[in-house]
Amino acid sequence: MNADDWLRTLTAELHQRRVAADAARHVVAEAATHLREGGGDPWVVFGPPQQYAGAVVESIGTAPGPRPGPVRLHAAGITKRYGRRTVLRDATLTVRAGQIAAVVGANGCGKSTFLRICAGLMSPDAGEVTVSGRLGYCPQSGGTADFLLADEHFVLVGAGQGVARGPARRAGRAAARQLGWEAGGDVQARHLSGGTRQKLNLTMSTLSAPDVLLLDEPYQGFDQGTYVNFWDQLSRLRDAGTAIVVVTHLLNQLDRVDIVLDLTPAHETGWHAPGIQGGRP
């Protein structure tokens, strides 16, 4: 990681930890000046960006986070069976505006199934889901058209909401830029790398300005910088009042979320996440 990457990671960390924007800018500018004038490896001078961000938070504190708003998604008693196998039993999750919920669990425990049920793409055997407002969904893979350009994807999604072509293209490109991707090129989706294709996928799901955003492990193929940008964007959306549900198996990100729903059967693990909701008994 070079100095620029280190500074970018620090910026994202400060943002995630809700350090006031002005203070965060000041800290990053000071660190950049120090590195430019004094030289040296930022990892040696300041240590890991996460650790340095932690020290900054201890020193200057954080801005108060916005209070969670009204309930945007309420999934109650979701049960799903495939033949004789029950993959979800009585799973319950409530997410308010301005909250991020993580759905975690072992492989095959029904994380994606749960999300598809919440999106209304699959019916459960029992339970119901209530959604307030517009729904956005980003699948784990697929969900794009191989022979279309990124701009054409934006136009296609935008037309669904009655958005004209120009504004849809501009909104798509702006959302892609938040993930560090310049989307205006002349490249068909099939020629994009796996990570860039996922950026397109993610951008499409946020394009309709959803009130509830459902993300099924959307970061597959992301490099470190994009991964940081991704969580940074999630924080921005949360602060803007979006209710977000993200399926993840990366437990190191759980300190950045407000709610955790663990779908791992209780007999398979002794681990319990903080703020756990629902799941299986």
Partner: protein, 230 residues
């Protein structure tokens, strides 16, 4: 209307970028025509029409299969099922009409003596039937290989079945064959009327089939309740 046109446009764009597929779309009816060229002209024209029908059906099958994962998210983005299947059908009909033009001109260049109005009507019927036919197979069979094999079976049956037999009327492209007979053999008007009616009915039934499958697959599920933002 804008949503319908956008889906049609994107279907068209996708197909036009598949240059290999386009080449094969053109090559298939041409081969069908040339392979029977030395024999009786009627067989040659009928093969051409079947080739156009098969080519457009195959394109429809592949377009439908490719859109399978995209459609649910477009539904969430504000599209209704009819925007998606009608838009796609519109795009495929347009592609079908475009590739029909050289095959309308081919017998003219070849100096064939036939009723060209009939040839145009037969081509229209082929294209009209082929788009919803390929889409229906694509909607019912999620994998391309199974769909392609089923299409192959139908076209083979269409080729080999006795057109005068009652079973022939159950095959999707019987209409264009009937109109082709009127076109080439100067038969009575009944062939043309029967063919047009068959084409119209089969297209409508296939389109209804596509609509039914799409409406079930992309339906709003009962467990999900939408509330306005409070």
């Amino acid at each position: 209307m804008n949503r319908l046109v956008t889906v049609a446009e994107m279907t068209l764009r996708e197909l036009l970028r598949r240059r290999g597929v386009l080449l094969l779309l053109l090559l298939m009816p041409l081969t069908f025509y040339l392979i029977r060229r030395d024999a009786y002209l009627g067989q040659s024209v009928r093969s051409l029409l079947l080739g156009v029908g098969w080519a457009v059906s195959t394109a429809a099958l592949f377009a439908t299969t490719a859109a399978r994962e995209l459609e649910p998210r477009l539904r969430l983005a504000g599209y209704r099922p009819h925007h998606l299947y009608l838009g796609r059908m519109l795009g495929l009909w347009t592609v079908g009409l475009v590739i029909s033009v050289p095959f309308f001109l081919l017998p003219i260049i070849d100096g064939a003596d036939l009723r060209y109005g009939g040839l145009a009507a037969a081509l229209l019927c082929s294209v009209a039937v082929a788009a919803p036919f390929g889409m229906l197979i694509g909607a019912l069979l999620p994998r391309e290989l199974e769909g392609t094999l089923l299409l192959l079976t139908v076209v083979t049956v269409q080729m080999l079945i006795d057109p005068a037999g009652s079973g022939a009327r159950l095959t999707p492209f019987w209409s264009s064959r009937e109109i082709a007979t009127w076109t080439v053999d100067n038969t009575d008007q009944g062939y043309l009327s029967r063919g047009l009616l068959h084409g119209l009915v089969v297209t409508a039934l296939l389109a209804l089939g596509v609509a039914a499958v799409a409406s079930v697959r992309l339906r709003r599920r009962r467990h999900l309740r939408h509330l306005p933002v409070g």
